[in-house]
C-alpha cells in the first residue's frame, strides 16, 4: 500500500514540475471519476445492479479488476473496460474508492428474510465479512448495505462457476439452501 502511495506522490510531483511532455499517469481522481457513470459519484452507486465501490479495500478492488481483465472473473462489460488499464492504474483508482465512507443504500428488503439472514450470518459469513460485511480490512468486498441485485448476480456467478469462490466460502455455501443464501443477501442489503 505504502509503495503505491509513494508512486502516486512521485507521479504527482512529476506533473507539478510541469514537464508537459512527460507521459505521466493520470491522477487517481482522474481515473476514478471515469467509473462514476456506472458506479456512482465517488463510487456510491444509486444502483440497483451496479455495486457501490465506496469503502472497499484497495487490495479487493485491484484483485477484482485484475480478475476481470484476465477473464478469470466473468462479466458482461467490466472485463472489456478493465483491459484498458494497467495494474498501477487499478491501484490509483482503488486508492480513491478505499478512502470513501461505505455508501448507505435504501432498498426494499423482506423483514423475515433479513431476520433469518442475521441468524445465519454469525456462523457462516462473519469470519471473512466482519462488521456485517462492512470491514474493509477483510479485503472481501463491502457487503454492508450493498445493492441486492448485484449480490444476487455475484452469487449466481459463484454458483455457476464464472467466478471462483474462495475455499472457505465454498464450504459454507455448500451447506446453505437457496432460501438461506437469499436471506443472507437481504440481511447485508438491509444494513443502514
Amino acid at each position: 500500500m505504502s509503495v503505491n502511495k509513494s508512486l502516486a506522490v512521485l507521479l504527482g510531483c512529476g506533473m507539478m514540475l510541469g514537464t508537459a511532455q512527460l507521459s505521466a499517469a493520470p491522477t487517481a481522481t482522474m481515473l476514478a471519476d471515469t467509473c462514476a457513470g456506472c458506479h456512482g459519484t465517488d463510487g456510491a452507486s444509486v444502483g440497483p445492479a451496479s455495486p457501490s465501490l465506496a469503502g472497499m479495500s484497495e487490495i479487493y478492488i485491484v484483485d477484482s479488476m485484475k480478475a476481470f481483465k484476465s477473464g478469470e472473473r466473468g462479466s458482461t462489460i467490466m472485463g472489456r473496460i478493465a483491459k484498458g488499464y494497467s495494474d498501477e492504474e487499478f491501484q490509483l483508482m482503488a486508492s480513491v474508492f478505499a478512502k470513501q465512507p461505505i455508501a448507505i443504500t435504501s432498498q426494499k428488503t423482506d423483514a423475515a428474510k433479513v431476520a433469518a439472514g442475521e441468524e445465519l450470518f454469525g456462523s457462516n459469513c462473519e469470519k471473512c465479512h466482519d462488521e456485517r460485511g462492512g470491514l474493509a480490512d477483510d479485503d472481501a468486498g463491502i457487503l454492508y448495505s450493498q445493492w441486492l441485485p448485484y449480490m444476487q448476480y455475484s452469487m449466481e456467478d459463484f454458483m455457476g462457476g464464472t467466478r471462483e469462490m474462495p475455499k472457505k466460502m465454498k464450504k459454507k455455501v455448500e451447506k446453505l439452501s437457496d432460501a438461506e443464501i437469499e436471506a443472507l443477501l437481504q440481511f447485508f442489503a438491509s444494513q443502514q
Binding site: 493520470p26 491522477t27 457513470g37 444509486v46 472489456r80
Partner: protein, 425 residues
C-alpha cells in the same frame, strides 16, 4: 506558451485595472476570484459545472441554459417503446445550485473570445477566465422540405422532450398494419446506435400491440454502429418486422419530404408511411457557429488534452459539439469529457499545467425487454490526440448468454440512475 504569455498579460493588466481603470470587468476580476462560464446545461455542461466546484470551490461557476429542465436523450427510446414515462428523463438544476453553481436561465447570443465575456438574450454580460461551451447539436437542412413545421408532423425526436412525446403519440395513434419510416442521419451524429435501438423499441411496442405493422429504415449510411448485434436482435425478436435499406440502394436515403401530404422521397421512390421519424444531419449547437468555434464540418475542433478550441483560446468545447473522435457523441463520453475538462480548467485558472487525461465510454442499447447490448472503450492521450487504448473495450459478444443480455438491461438502468445523479445530483 501562448497561454503563459496571455496569463502574464492578464496579471499586468489586472494590476493596472485595480489602480483605477473601469470598464474591463473580466480583466479586473482576474486578480480576484476565478470565473468560469459554462454555455449549455446538458450532460457535458452540467457535469463540468459540478466537477469544477468539486475540485475547487473557490472558482465561481456560472452555467447558462435556456431551459428549466433537461430531458435526457438516453433511454428516451424506451418512451417510444412504451416502457418508460417522459418524467423519468426530466432533470432540473437544483442539484447544481447546491454545489454552488450559479444557474442562469437565459440564451447565450454571443461569446467574445478576446474580451472574455458571454452575452445573453436577456441583455446580461458574464466575464470569464475560462469558458466552456457545451451546446449539443443543431440540425442541418439536408432534407428538402423538412422545416420547423414539418418537424411537428414528422418528428425527429433527436432532442428529447416534446418531440419524443409527439412521436410516441403518433405511434399510439397508428392503426395495426401501418408502416413506421425511420430516416437515420449521416455520420457524424449524436448517439450512433440510437436510430437502431429506436427501431427495436418501436418494434417491441408494435409486436405487442399492432403486430401486422412494419418498420422501414431508409438510411443515409451503408453501415452502422453495433450492426451485427442489432441485425441479430431484429431477427431474434422482430422477425419480418424491420427492414433496413442502406444508402447505396436508394441513392442516398431520404432526400425530401412533403410533410403536409405525409410523403417521404428518396432519389427514385416515394413513400407514404403512417408515421415518419426523420432525423436530419447534425452539426454543433448553433451558438458554437455564432461564436466562431466551428470549422467547415460544422463541428468544433479542439485540442485533445484540454478540449480547448483550436480556433479561440480560453474557450473549451465539450460534448456532442466537439470534434472528439474517436470518442463518440454519447452521454457517457460527454460526461467523461466534462470531467477531464473540469480538471484542466481548474488547473489552468490556478496557473498549473493540466494533468494527463483519461476517458471512458459505455453505450447500452436495449433491444428487447430482457435483451441489452453494449459497446465500451477506454481512451487516453497519444501525441496530443484522443486515442483508443489498445486491447480495451469492444462490443457485447454475439453469442453472449440470455442471462448476460438480461443483466445488461439492468446495468443500463443502473447506468442511467448513476450517470444522471453524477450530472445533476
Amino acid at each position: 506558451m501562448n497561454k503563459i504569455n496571455r496569463r502574464s498579460f492578464i496579471k499586468i493588466a489586472g494590476s493596472a485595472a485595480a489602480v483605477g481603470a473601469v470598464g474591463f470587468p473580466s480583466i479586473a476580476a482576474a486578480a480576484g476570484k476565478k470565473r468560469v462560464v459554462i454555455v449549455g446545461g446538458g450532460t457535458a455542461g452540467a457535469t463540468a459545472a459540478k466537477y469544477i466546484r468539486r475540485a475547487d470551490a473557490s472558482v465561481e461557476v456560472t452555467l447558462i441554459e435556456p431551459n428549466k429542465h433537461y430531458y435526457t436523450c438516453y433511454l428516451s427510446n424506451e418512451v417510444l417503446g412504451g416502457g418508460r414515462k417522459m418524467d423519468s428523463l426530466k432533470f432540473g438544476y437544483d442539484g447544481l445550485a447546491k454545489h454552488g453553481v450559479t444557474v442562469v436561465h437565459d440564451t447565450v447570443t454571443g461569446i467574445d473570445a478576446k474580451g472574455q465575456k458571454v452575452t445573453t438574450k436577456g441583455g446580461k454580460s458574464f466575464g470569464y477566465d475560462r469558458c466552456i461551451v457545451a451546446p449539443g447539436i443543431s440540425f442541418v437542412d439536408n432534407i428538402k422540405g423538412y422545416d420547423q413545421a414539418a418537424m411537428e408532423k414528422m418528428p425527429h425526436a433527436w432532442k428529447a422532450g416534446s418531440q419524443t412525446a409527439l412521436l410516441r403519440k403518433q405511434l399510439e395513434g397508428m392503426a395495426d398494419g401501418g408502416t413506421v419510416l425511420i430516416a437515420p442521419p449521416p455520420n457524424p451524429f449524436r448517439c450512433p446506435p440510437g436510430p437502431y435501438e429506436r427501431a427495436c423499441q418501436i418494434a417491441s411496442y408494435l409486436k405487442q400491440n399492432k403486430p401486422k405493422s412494419k418498420i422501414l429504415i431508409l438510411d443515409k449510411k451503408d453501415k452502422f454502429s453495433k450492426q451485427g448485434l442489432f441485425t441479430q436482435a431484429w431477427d431474434r425478436h422482430y422477425k419480418g418486422m424491420i427492414e433496413w435499406v442502406k444508402a447505396e440502394d436508394t441513392g442516398g436515403g431520404v432526400m425530401r419530404v412533403d410533410a403536409n401530404a405525409g410523403k417521404v422521397f428518396t432519389e427514385f421512390d416515394e413513400y407514404k408511411p403512417d408515421v415518419a421519424n426523420i432525423i436530419p444531419a447534425q452539426v454543433a449547437g448553433s451558438i458554437a457557429k455564432t461564436a466562431g468555434l466551428t470549422d467547415d464540418s460544422g463541428w468544433c475542433p479542439v485540442a485533445g488534452k484540454t478540449f480547448e478550441s483550436t480556433i479561440h483560446k480560453g474557450i473549451h468545447v465539450i460534448g456532442d459539439a466537439a470534434i472528439q473522435s474517436p470518442l463518440p457523441k454519447s452521454g457517457y463520453a460527454a460526461n467523461s469529457e466534462a470531467k477531464v475538462v473540469a480538471a484542466a480548467v481548474v488547473d489552468l485558472v490556478n496557473g498549473r499545467e493540466p494533468g494527463t487525461p483519461s476517458w471512458v465510454n459505455t453505450c447500452y442499447s436495449i433491444v428487447a425487454p430482457n435483451d441489452g447490448i453494449s459497446v465500451a472503450m477506454v481512451y487516453n492521450l497519444v501525441d496530443g490526440k484522443v486515442a483508443k487504448v489498445e486491447g480495451s473495450g469492444g462490443l457485447t459478444p454475439m453469442d453472449s448468454s440470455p442471462q448476460d443480455r438480461a443483466r445488461e438491461v439492468q446495468y443500463a438502468y443502473s447506468w442511467f440512475k448513476n450517470i444522471t445523479s453524477d450530472i445533476f445530483g
